[in-house]
Symmetry: C2
Subunit: 478 residues, 2 copies
Amino acid sequence: MAETIPHWLTKQADLSPNHIAIELDSGDAMTFRELKEYSQMLAKKLANLNIEKGTHVGILSSNSIIMLATIHALSYLGAVGVLLNVRLTEEEMNYQVKDAEVNVLLTADNFREFAEQLDVPTIFSFSDMEKLQPRETKLQTELHLDDHFTIIYTSGTTGFPKGVIHTYGNHLWSAVGSALNLGIHPNDKWLIPLPLFHVSGLSTSMKSVIYGMPIYLLEKFDEEIVHHAIMEKGITIASVVTVMVQRLMKQLGNGQYPEAFRCMLLGGGPAPRPLLEAAKDKNIPVFQSYGMTETSSQIVTLSPSYALEKIGSAGKSLFSAQLKISGQTDAQVGEIMVKGPMVTKGYYKNDEANQRSFQDGWLKTGDLGYLDDEGFLYVVDRRKDLIISGGENIYPSEIESVLTGMEQIKEVGVAGKQDDTWGQVPVAFVVKNEEVTEEEILTYAGERLARYKLPKEVRFVDSLPRNASNKLVRNKLM
Amino acid sequence: MAETIPHWLTKQADLSPNHIAIELDSGDAMTFRELKEYSQMLAKKLANLNIEKGTHVGILSSNSIIMLATIHALSYLGAVGVLLNVRLTEEEMNYQVKDAEVNVLLTADNFREFAEQLDVPTIFSFSDMEKLQPRETKLQTELHLDDHFTIIYTSGTTGFPKGVIHTYGNHLWSAVGSALNLGIHPNDKWLIPLPLFHVSGLSTSMKSVIYGMPIYLLEKFDEEIVHHAIMEKGITIASVVTVMVQRLMKQLGNGQYPEAFRCMLLGGGPAPRPLLEAAKDKNIPVFQSYGMTETSSQIVTLSPSYALEKIGSAGKSLFSAQLKISGQTDAQVGEIMVKGPMVTKGYYKNDEANQRSFQDGWLKTGDLGYLDDEGFLYVVDRRKDLIISGGENIYPSEIESVLTGMEQIKEVGVAGKQDDTWGQVPVAFVVKNEEVTEEEILTYAGERLARYKLPKEVRFVDSLPRNASNKLVRNKLM
C-alpha cells in the first residue's frame, strides 16, 4: 500500500518554523515558515491559471528562491513540475515540452523571450505570476508517495531524451537513504552549486524540507564563492562533480577546510584516482557516489569509514537499495543494475524505454562496473562511452584517470574514433595547465597503460564539453 | 505500491560488518555480521520445524541475544513473531496464542516449564532450537514493507487484548521518523531497559539494524546498572518510563551525566511536571514523547529545541505522521487521533476492533489530550482512566502530577472509585518516601487543586501496580 504523509513543507514549517530553509550568497534567506507561506501564496495565484491536480507545468529557470517556491507551489496543487534545462536549444526544449504534455510554462524573467518561441499554450514569467490575484483553493495537506511530483529529462544511451518521473516517495526515500548513510547532524547546511533542474540539486532541496536543514543555494558554480562559503558560512556538506573538486582544490591551495565541513559528495561519473589521492592528502572529505536522474540522485555512496581504504570505489548501495552486476560474478565488469524505492517507477509515456530499462523490478543503468570481493562498486564507464578496439574493451575513464596524474594536464576527456583497422581507437582531448607535448603525454601514458589502451592521438583544446551539471559529455568530444 | 527493500539485517551486515550491533551489561557483544550469521543459522534450524512464510510463531523470553536473533530468524523465513509478555498468567497467554493462531512456541529455557502448560502444538526451548540441524532453505533476501513482521498484544479500553500487527514498513517508518527528529550521530548507542516483547524495546532493536547503531540491551531495568551504563559505557540515548526517571535521578544525586548522553526518551504516559522540572534542573535531556503499541513506539516527541519551553508537552507528531484532536479546536480536550505509515494497519483478525479504532485512515487512540496554540500536544490521560465525578472530568495524571511534588511522596497513582452520590470519586494510592499523613497530603492538594479534584481518600501502599514495561496500571489500583 502506498503511504501518505503530511505535505512535507507544511510539516517542516510546523516543526521548525523559524529555522532557515534556504540561504543565498547574497545574504537573502528564508525560514521554513516563510517558504511555506510564499509557496502557498504562489499556489493560490497559480490556481488562476487552471493549474490543478495532474497538470504538467514546465519550469524554466536557473536557481533562485522563486524557482524553488514555484516547485513547492505546484506540489500544493498536485501539479507536476517539468524541470527544463536552461541550456537546451529551442528544438530540444520543444521536444521535451511536447513529450511531457506541458500546458503551462513558468519561466524566470530572463528566459521569457526565449520561452515565448516555444510551443506551449500558456507562458508566464515569474514576475507576471507574482502579479496574479490569489484564488481561494484547497491546497494539498498530504502527499501520497506514489503521486508524481516532477519530471526531468535525461538523454538515453540511444534516441531521444526520456522523461524521468519522480514521485514524492522517490524523493523521500532518497533523503532517507542519504540520511542513514551520512547521518543527520543538528548543524548541517548543504551547499547546492548544481541546478535545481537536475536531480542532484532538486533532491537536496527536498532533503532540506525533509530534514529541516538549510540549503545554501548558488545560481551557478563559482569556485571562489563555493570556497568562501565552505570557509566562512558553516557549510557541512556540498554536492559537487569532478571538475569542481579540481577547481576547489586549487582555490584551497595549502589551506584546510573547517572541521565542520564533513562531506564533499562527489557525483557525476567516476573520478580520477590522482584527484582522489590529492584530496585525501589535503584532508578533504570527498565521498565518491554513484547515481543518476533515474535513482533520484546518489544510490551508491562510499561511507565515511571506507573513504580512504576503498579509494576509487563508489561504495555500497544505500540502506534501502540493492545493487548487482548483470550476469556477472567474481569482479567481472558488467552492466550495473539497481533496485530500491528511490528508483523511478518509469519514463513518462514511454513503454518502449520502460521495457528496455527495467527487468524484474531492477533498473538497467547502462553503466559498466564491477564489485570487489567485499561488494564495493567500481564504476568503469557509461556503456555508451565504452571504446571497443580490436575486440578489447577500453574504458575512457581509466585513461583519463592516468593522464590527470600529469601535472601539466588540467583536464582530459577520452573518446573513441572510428578506425578501419581496429573498429575504434581512443583519442585524448587535453586542456593544458602548462606546456606539454603529445609525445610527453604518450610517453607518460605508455609507462602506465597497456599498449592497446594508449591514445592514438592527442588533441589540445581550451575546454571540455560539459552539460549543465558540469559533467563531461564524452560523445561531444569528437 | 508497497516498496521492497533488502533484508535489513543482511544489508547492515554488508554496510557495517564489524560494527557492534548489540552489547550486554555482561560485556558480551555481537557485530552486525555475527548477528546476521547467527540469525540465519537459527532460521535454517527453524526450517526443520516447518516454519515458513506466514507461520505464526510465539516467542516467550525476557531480553537476550538469542531472543533478538530468533526474531530476526523468523523474518528470514517470512514467519510472524508473536511476542508474549512473560508476566502473563497461563489463561491470558492461552488467550493470546489461540487468538494469534500460534502453531509453534519458542521459549527461553527458564520459561519452558510454564510454556508446556500452554495450548500450542509445538514447543521448543531456545536450547533445543539450537540443537536442531540446519536445513538448506531459501532465506528472504528482501523485505516487502506491507508484510507482517510481528504481533504484540495490547489491552484495549474494553474487552479482550487485541493483537497489533506490525509490518516491516511500520518499523522502518518509525525508525525514520525518530531519526528525522533526534538526528543520527556516528557515536550513537541506545540503551534498552524495556522488554523486547513491548514495542518500545522491539522498535529500538530494529532501529539498531536500520541505522547501523549498537544497542545496549538489559534483561530488565535496574537503576544501578542503567546509571553505570550512562556514566561509563558511552550511552547516548535511553528509552525510559516515568518511574525509571525518578529512580535514576535519585541515583545521579548531585552528579551530572556525560555530555555525550543526549536523550532520555520518556514514554509510557504523561509525566508529572515536578519530575520534568527536577530533571531540567539536573540538565538531564528528558524528551517527552507519546506513542503506543499501535504506533510502533513514539509518534509524537518534543524536539530538543522546545524541551524547556514546552515542558509537560509530548511535542509534535514526527515528520511522516499527523495528529489531531477529535472534533475539537481551540485547546479543548478531546480524543487524540494519529495517522502515518508507522501506525499499524490493524488488529489481527479483529474486524470489530478495527472498525471501532480506525476512521478515514486515522487511529482513534483512546487517549485524551489537547493542542496548545502552537500545536504542541498535551496528553491528559487514557480515556479509560478518566474519572467522571458529578459530571466533571477529572484526569488522574493531573492529581498525580501535583502530589508527586510533595517531598514525602515517592510515587502516586490515582483511580476512580464508585460513589453513590458523585458516580465516581478520586482515590490516591501513595508510596511514601518518608512519614506523611493523609491530612498533610490533602492540605497540600487543597492548595493546588480545585475542590472537586481532591482525592476523597488516600491509601498508603508499598508499591504501585505496573506492567512489564513499568507503566502504571491504574485500573489495578483499586
